[in-house]
């Protein structure tokens, strides 16, 4: 074969190579399957030290042999620096620092750098995911922090991270719907995870695990923002014609999570109601001390229908008028405790009503999902979130559910004894003490 013939032969091969190309539909489906497998198989990368990140970055552009030599030189320089008396900030030591601690500023600076680098190389979706990872980190910090101020700082930073991720999602939607859709998928997963983490740390509605209203307010504000971001992400998925079954699964997961939150809210409210009533009675019972100079048997105080009482704690006392007069002012109705209990019960009633309204919306959302109206369903979820948050706002006013100790047990003796400081029995009547 002559060279010209060979050239023609090879040119022909080049022309025909298009017939060797893969099917476009297979390319698309294979990509989705491949990336799906990677997302399932690969857990979220664990936190690595700044040094590891620098090493990896440099190794991308410089051969490892060169890098190894440079690293040795750098280590020698550092050792020399320490020997001279300088100090080195340990980036990896800052990883576990909490708000207010010395290295916390370093930790935040490293995070800002990572986001900036991602933005600088045009990977704004990577920057958004970083912000969500940092928000999750803030939630963990809030849990670990022992002091209220630390928790508040962590929760406020969390809200900033979420707001930033939100803006980047908006930007992605404007610039590249395809990228926005893939980012939105990650945003829905991560926001669900952060919400679960916050809910686990803030179990008690009537008073918070952290113990203060300020922290509770920040938690609620953070939850609200995260929920809004999650809803927006689902809308982005729907708008970009994402895989319908995948989007349906995402919406159903949101319904499941908010239903759990509503159940928890209901239970906590009921617990707050019952303990509040018990507190009221126990508080009153602890006032009864000393002796009563009467031979009339005194029936134990009975608190009827703990959950049904709406006004006062009625006291059943039988006996002669003097006995009743003795006991009524002490063990019976106290205006302060009655109104406190009333307020609690009213708040609990409001919470129960709101939870019912939210559950009705959940039912509507489920029907919309079955009718494949995913946009309608996620808008219902947004309504459920709104009602749930109103209920939580009411719940923050409920007292803590813990029962108080009764310091002095009731002691009533039916013997003639010295007058008690509270009452004076004289003759046929009884006089109230002016204590």
């Amino acid at each position: 074969m002559k060279d010209a013939g060979m050239d023609n032969f090879l040119s022909q091969l080049r022309r025909d190579v298009g017939l060797l190309n893969p099917d476009e539909s297979w390319v698309r489906e294979n990509k989705i399957a491949l990336l799906g497998r990677l997302r399932v198989a690969e857990p979220a990368p664990s936190a690595t030290s700044l040094w590891c990140k620098i090493e990896e970055t440099i190794s991308v552009v410089v051969s490892r042999q060169v890098f190894a030599v440079a690293r040795q030189a750098a280590v020698m320089l550092l050792v020399a620096g320490v020997a001279v008396g300088g100090w080195i900030v340990s980036a990896s030591a800052s990883q576990n620092s909490l708000p207010g601690e010395a290295l916390y500023g370093v930790k935040l600076a490293i995070e800002r750098t990572e986001v900036s680098v991602a933005e600088a190389v045009g990977a704004s979706e990577v920057a958004a995911i970083k912000e969500l990872d940092f928000a999750a980190r803030r939630a963990r910090e809030a849990k670990k922090s022992p002091r209220r101020e630390q928790k508040v700082v962590a929760l406020q930073s969390l809200q900033q991270n979420i707001a930033s991720a939100n803006k980047r999602l908006d930007k992605a939607q404007e610039q590249s719907p395809e990228q926005a859709a893939s980012l939105a998928k990650v945003v829905t997963q991560k926001t669900d995870q952060i919400l679960e983490s916050l809910a686990a740390d803030n179990k008690s509605v009537a008073g918070t695990v952290q113990g203060t209203a300020a922290v509770s307010q920040e938690v609620h504000a953070a939850e609200k923002l995260i929920e809004e971001t999650g809803v927006k992400a689902v809308k982005v998925l729907i708008a970009n014609n994402g895989d319908a079954s995948e989007v349906k699964e995402v919406v159903e997961k949101k319904l499941e999570n908010v239903a759990k939150a509503l159940v928890g809210l209901n239970q906590d409210a009921s617990l707050a109601a019952s303990t509040s009533l018990a507190n009221g009675i126990a508080g009153q019972m602890s006032l009864v001390t000393g002796t009563v100079s009467t031979s009339v048997p005194v029936l134990p105080v009975v608190a009827p229908a703990l959950l049904g009482a709406t006004n006062t704690v009625a006291v059943a006392v039988s006996g002669t008028a003097p006995a009743a007069a003795l006991l009524a002012p002490v063990v019976g109705v106290s205006t302060t405790s009655a109104s406190g209990t009333t307020a609690v019960l009213q708040d609990v009633q409001v919470i129960h009503e709101k939870v019912e309204a939210a559950e009705a919306r959940l039912g509507e959302a489920k029907s919309l999902i079955q009718g494949n109206n995913l946009l309608g369903a996620i808008e219902k979820v947004a309504e459920v979130y709104s009602i749930k948050n109103e209920a939580k706002q009411v719940a923050t006013q409920l007292p803590a559910p813990a029962l108080p100790k009764i310091a002095d047990p009731v002691t009533l003796v039916t013997t003639t004894a010295t007058p008690s400081p509270l009452v004076t029995a004289t003759g046929s009547g009884a006089q109230k003490s002016n204590k």
Binding site: F9, V17, E42
Partner: protein, 182 residues
């Protein structure tokens, strides 16, 4: 390595960024598929192998502390290893030809598709008579239009060796073909 690949490699190595890997997939899937299909001449097997190639590439890229000099080089290297595994593990399936026929039957212009296919088949048959190394170097040079240096990295040889290999491959092809192709 092109700067775009450097950036993607950074994102994958440092951040285990799956979307960056998706971009690598978009850039190289057709190229890898053509190479694998050329070697295996079976669409189904080629699809399986290509999927496996990308999965292994991800694992290789994210494993520490292995150095990656070139994404393209890595993909071809893994593809060649996978092809060798296929040769070892599986025999050619007789339904290959049935599948090709089914594809052709769905083409709008059956006659033209048949003619194109037959031309390609003849061309590939000629090249397939060569040994593996010669086939690869001809394909990478004349079909994928890779440089000598790139081919050298893929085949694990140096530049001069690849030039010699290419020269010998062409000569052998000429001798096999016999009559002029023009």
């Amino acid at each position: 390595m092109p700067w775009e690949d450097t950036l993607l490699l950074y994102k994958i190595r440092v951040h285990k960024d799956k979307d960056a890997f998706g971009k690598v997939y978009d850039r190289y899937v057709a190229q890898v598929y053509r190479f694998v299909f050329f070697k295996l001449n079976n669409k189904e097997e080629a699809e399986d192998v290509v999927s496996e190639v990308f999965l292994k590439t991800w694992q290789y890229m994210t494993a520490q502390p292995i150095e990656v000099k070139s994404i393209q080089h890595l993909l071809y290297r893994i593809a060649r290893n996978q092809i060798v595994d296929v040769y070892r593990r599986r025999a050619r399936r007789p339904e290959d030809n049935l599948e090709a026929a089914a594809e052709l039957a769905s083409a709008e212009n059956i006659e033209q598709a048949l003619a194109e296919r037959q031309t390609l088949e003849r061309t590939i048959q000629e090249i397939k008579k060569l040994k593996q190394e010669y086939q690869e170097v001809i394909f990478l040079r004349y079909v994928e239009e890779l440089s000598i240096r790139e081919i050298a990295m893929i085949l694990g040889k140096n530049g001069p060796s690849v030039r010699v290999l290419l020269h010998r491959a062409i000569k052998k092809l000429q001798s096999i073909s016999g009559e002029p192709q023009n």
